[in-house]
């Protein structure tokens, strides 16, 4: 196979894989984008002289945690939400009036006074509109609608995973890392003080100061 053929294969593969599934592409490229961005941010903090060492102990693990949690939550949360929305459309649970008419004509749905209903005993789990023999009649309407629903679900999923779940989890992770590193850093001074759990960094530092500034018993009058 020569280079021209390989190049054509590459183009055609991209077209067949993502031409009809933009949300899938957004998920894969999104994950890769977050990974690359986090790697650069870790370097940015490490080389920033204006950030004190103590803050770097929080910010670097925060960034690593941010990247790792972002990638995992993007894959788990965003993709599951996207697949859920996608399946709602492909199983005929969610549709436009034109798709409903098509499903009614194909004897999958029944039109009633209060809207459309599913036939009694109908098994959604095995049904996919795309597998219907007369799918060509509705393919344009269906593909446009499904792509739109997929992209909306993917965007909402991204907002939930990247902007809500990730910052909460990465802060928890970075706080624990900072405490461990600080405890290790100040080991000779803090000696037997227990690993601080459930207290703020301010309280912890105050406790450390109090422990070592306490007057000894022999000095009591």
């Amino acid at each position: 196979m020569n280079i021209a053929q390989l190049f054509n294969n590459f183009k055609n593969t991209i077209l067949t894989k993502y031409g009809s599934n933009p949300a899938k592409m957004l998920i894969y490229t999104g994950v890769l984008g977050w990974f690359l961005s986090s790697a650069a941010q870790v370097v940015a903090i490490a080389v920033n002289d204006k950030i004190p060492k103590e803050q770097k102990m929080f910010l670097i693990p925060q960034e690593i945690g941010d990247g790792a949690i972002n990638v995992v939550s993007f894959f788990l949360v965003t993709s599951v939400i996207k697949n859920f929305a996608s399946r709602l459309v492909s199983s005929g649970r969610l549709a436009t009036p034109k798709i409903r008419e098509f499903l009614t004509n194909s004897e999958i749905n029944i039109k009633t006074k209060n809207g459309w209903k599913v036939l009694p005993g109908f098994d959604f789990s095995k049904f996919n509109i795309k597998n219907m023999t007369n799918f060509d009649q509705i393919s344009d309407e269906y593909n446009s609608f499904k792509n739109g629903v997929d992209v909306i679900a993917m965007t909402l999923g991204s907002i939930l995973s990247c902007n809500i779940i990730t910052p909460i989890l990465r802060n928890k992770y970075a706080t624990n890392r900072q405490r461990k590193v600080l405890a290790e850093f100040n080991k000779p001074e803090i000696g037997g003080l227990k690993y601080p759990k459930g207290i703020s960094m301010d309280t912890y530092q105050k406790q450390v100061t109090m422990k070592f500034s306490k007057p000894s018993a022999s000095l009591k009058i």
């Binding site: 054509n8 031409g19 984008g33 929080f58 902007n163 909460i168 928890k172």
Partner: protein
């Protein structure tokens, strides 16, 4: 031998797809098979959903994520009482700086790359006599049959892949220094107060 061949055949993406489908199935089962089927009957809503599917590329997606990140992440950092006040302030400054830098570069590079790909993915009917680089205009056009919508998504995908390649460098050359400069700017302003 069997285990070696099974490792070779293991694909992360296909395993992940199976996992995700299983979760989806469980979620759909939990929702149950409702007798009455939800139908989006407002033509404007249907049109809007179609438009989003056709026109929302990774660039716009990055912009939406950036805008929503500005509305949520600084507040999440501000409410993190597990760290001291100074660390919390640095964390907020850096989060805001990172969102601004990441969104600006991410959106711009993605948009420019998608535009560049579009310039070299022309159909024969789109090539005009006064166009420059006429021979290269079909360079990225697929050689198999496609619809107009598929071609638009193909351009978005190829543009996004190109953008990711470029962002390997710009993350270090633009994103990271810009984040650093903005963090120092915001943190410095806080210090002055």
């Amino acid at each position: 031998m069997a285990s070696i061949s099974s490792i070779r055949n293991f694909s992360f993406l296909s395993a992940y797809d199976k996992f995700s489908c299983k979760i989806t199935r469980v979620a759909l089962d939990a929702v149950g098979s409702r007798e009455k089927l939800p139908t989006i009957s407002n033509p404007k809503t249907v049109k809007c959903i179609d438009w989003i599917g056709k026109n929302l590329s990774s660039a716009e997606n990055r912009l939406i994520l950036g805008a929503s990140a500005l509305l949520s992440q600084p507040f999440i950092d501000a409410s993190n009482k597990d760290v001291d006040a100074k660390t919390r302030r640095y964390s907020i400054c850096r989060t805001v700086a990172k969102i601004i830098a990441g969104t600006l570069t991410g959106f711009t590079i993605r948009k420019l790359c998608i535009k560049s790909i579009d310039a070299f993915t022309k159909l024969p009917s789109e090539i005009k006599p006064d166009m420059k680089f006429k021979n290269l205009r079909k360079l990225l056009t697929p050689t198999i049959k496609f619809s107009a919508e598929e071609l638009a998504q193909y351009k978005n995908t190829l543009g996004t892949i190109l953008a990711l390649g470029i962002m390997v460098f710009t993350n270090f050359l633009i994103d990271a220094p810009l984040t650093k400069a903005l963090t120092n700017l915001f943190a410095g302003k806080g210090d002055a107060k």
